[in-house]
């Protein structure tokens, strides 16, 4: 029999052991996540040009955003990008997974082709697409000219920058296809058989069996894509920066945040933008979870 006292001592010892094993993350997250977050919250209320100490200015960084035309433009661009690329990527991703569903010969090859682009480093993605989109000698406009279409100056022409960005985002749909494929494999076969007996067409089975059954995977992917779209940086940074300044149509939220922090020496403003970005992501994710209560079907829940 153990006495309550030795019991308590044992529990204490186990807590110490648990803390010791998790200490790398406890120390690391304190130093590299929570401390920076607390610092940036403080800086967001200051004027901080980096070479001099921060000066408290209250909420002026946040108040300034509404009057900053560049800020409004990057918010607008990022929102448009997310609003188009996320639904289009979802439709494409689910459709490709559906095409690969069931017994398909060479499925592994097709899946590899779709997946490989997601492995390409983002700087190389930007480089390759700059070349494909090249107005004069790019592959896309060359191909278009063969069928008698004169292609636009894609990444130079302000009105074609956003379509270019969205096309590039479709190219990296592969990870979500892998997840949708896995989700579709988990759909019980008897549901499809029942649907077939009810006389459903292939499209109806897709619409009324597959889509509801994989809705948790769709929610997961939409949230991941939202977080990624809100912080899009490397591709537009490489593509749309010009020696003579920024191409305004290709200016996105995180690029402006980066410029404020590391180019213009406006660390306070950059930190305010960072906190706003976090709040936007939390709000969007929260809203999706709420909306999904009616739309997402959880088996056994």
């Amino acid at each position: 029999m153990t006495s309550p006292r030795s019991n308590r001592r044992r529990r204490f010892r186990e807590t110490l052991i648990g803390l010791a094993w998790t200490s790398p993350w406890l120390v690391g997250s304190a130093l590299f996540v929570f401390l920076p977050m607390a610092m940036s919250l403080y800086y967001s209320f200051t004027d901080f040009p980096l070479i001099e100490p921060p000066i408290w200015t209250g909420t002026s960084n946040y108040a300034r955003m509404g009057d900053d035309p560049t800020f409004l433009r990057v918010v607008h661009n990022t929102a448009i990008y997310a609003a188009f690329s996320i639904p289009l990527c979802t439709i494409l991703g689910v459709s490709l997974a559906a095409l690969l569903q069931g017994r398909v010969r060479f499925a592994r090859f097709f899946r590899a082709c779709i997946f490989i682009p997601t492995l390409v480093p983002l700087v190389a993605v930007a480089m390759v697409w700059m070349w494909l989109f090249n107005g004069e000698f790019g592959f896309i406009n060359q191909a278009l000219s063969r069928i008698g279409i004169k292609g636009p100056a894609w990444i130079v022409d302000a009105s074609w920058v956003m379509p270019s960005m969205i096309i590039m985002s479709l190219w990296s749909v592969g990870q979500s296809v892998v997840i949708y494929t896995a989700a579709m494999q988990d759909v019980p076969r008897h549901l499809y058989e029942a649907a077939r007996l009810d006389g459903m067409t292939a499209f109806q089975r897709f619409r009324h069996v597959t889509v509801p059954m994989i809705s948790p995977a769709i929610l997961f992917n939409v949230i991941v894509m939202t977080i990624n779209a809100v912080q899009v940086f490397a591709v537009p940074y490489v593509m749309f920066r010009r020696p003579d300044g920024q191409n305004p149509a290709g200016h996105f939220y995180t690029m402006y945040l980066y410029e404020n922090a590391f180019v213009y020496g406006q660390m306070g403003y950059a930190c305010a933008m960072a906190w706003l970005q976090l709040l936007i992501i939390l709000a969007l994710t929260g809203a999706m979870f709420l909306a999904s209560r009616k739309l997402v079907y959880y088996r056994g829940a």
Binding site: R11, T15, G18, L19, W21, T22, P24, W25, L26, S29, L31, V33, P36, M37, S40, L50, L96, L100, F106, F109, F110, C113, I114, F115, I116, P117, L119, V120, P121, L122, V123, A124, M127, V128, M130, W131, N134, E136, F137, Q142, R146, G174, I179, A182, A202, P216, F220, V224, I227, V230, A234, Y237, V238, L257, Y258, A261, C271, A274, W275, L278
Partner: protein, 304 residues
């Protein structure tokens, strides 16, 4: 009832047609990248759409010439960028795998009161994107430099300086990553309890159990973590962009961007050769580890 056979044959033909077209569209950018990289400049930037240079027999020598020119470029030193990238990748992959496994062990095989709370915190930090903390993170490392200057360490031991060195890119990896901790913790929860109970009765310590039982058993999960993290480091652009200040410390991703942004215009055939050099290692790695990678992604975040 109409005969379903012809319609099924048609739908199957449509499916293969679509899949072939999609595969072509997804691969075309990379095919074109390689194709451009083996052409002379005059043919790369011309109205001619062809996979191989003209004459075709010039392809090997032209490829050799272009790649050698990129590799030996005096202003942009790809051999050094490759070395730097491999240093960061090796140090971060080892640190990330080991530390995440330790934390995951503490969150799954040790029974203690606070572990639910810590797990919740780990999951919460997964939601924080890097841009949110990048600016103050830079200041954290700058403060470490300042503190070392104050203590008289710094001008003396310059190799300890953080900003401008590779250290800020791999040191944080030694403290575990939220996603990897979660992935390994899920794996460890699935291992039978009897394993460590028997080992404990034999008098084995936690360290012994971790090192001799859990780590060997979790090799597949560790491989997924190592692979994901290697690809992450290889692709990372924003981290090197913030912390690296001298050209000789650049990583490949940053070097590629420098190559493109150089004064004047780097010709497209050379830019594509450089891009191919950066892309190829990841693709080779994918060919070798395809199954591990795909299984890792399909299980990420979905299984509870």
């Amino acid at each position: 009832m109409p005969n379903p056979a012809p319609s099924r044959a048609i739908s199957s033909a449509v499916r293969y047609l679509l899949l072939t077209a999609v595969s072509f569209a997804f691969l075309m950018p990379l095919v074109w990248m390689v194709s451009t990289s083996i052409k002379p400049e005059s043919q790369a930037a011309s109205g001619r759409v062809a996979l191989l240079p003209d004459p075709v027999s010039s392809a090997p020598s032209q490829a050799a010439e272009n790649y050698a020119q990129v590799w030996n470029d005096p202003a942009v030193q790809f051999p050094i960028y490759l070395r730097n990238t491999l240093v960061v990748a090796a140090l971060s992959v080892i640190g990330m795998t080991l530390s995440s496994a330790m934390v995951a062990y503490g969150l799954s095989r040790v029974r203690w009161k606070g572990r639910g709370l810590i797990l919740t915190l780990v999951l919460a930090t997964m939601m924080i994107p890097f841009p949110v903390i990048m600016a103050p993170l830079y200041i954290v490392f700058r403060s470490i430099d300042r503190a070392m200057e104050g203590a008289g360490i710094l001008p003396a031991a310059e190799s300890l300086r953080m900003i401008g060195s590779l250290k800020p890119l791999w040191i944080p990896a030694w403290f575990g990553g939220a996603f990897n901790i979660f992935l390994l913790r899920q794996f460890y929860m699935g291992l039978p309890k009897e394993l460590d109970e028997a080992a404990r009765l034999d008098g084995m310590s936690h360290w012994g159990i971790f090192w001799r039982i859990i780590l060997p058993l979790s090799r597949p999960a560790l491989a997924v973590v190592a692979l994901f993290h290697f690809i992450y480091v290889w692709n990372d652009f924003i981290g090197p962009l913030i912390f690296l200040t001298h050209r000789d410390t650049f990583t490949l991703a940053l070097g590629l961007q420098l190559y493109q942004g150089q004064a004047g215009m780097t010709p497209w055939n050379l830019l594509m050769a450089a891009s191919t050099l950066v892309v190829a290692p990841v693709l080779v790695l994918f060919m070798i580890t395809q199954r591990t990678l795909v299984e890792g992604i399909s299980s990420s975040g979905l299984k509870d």
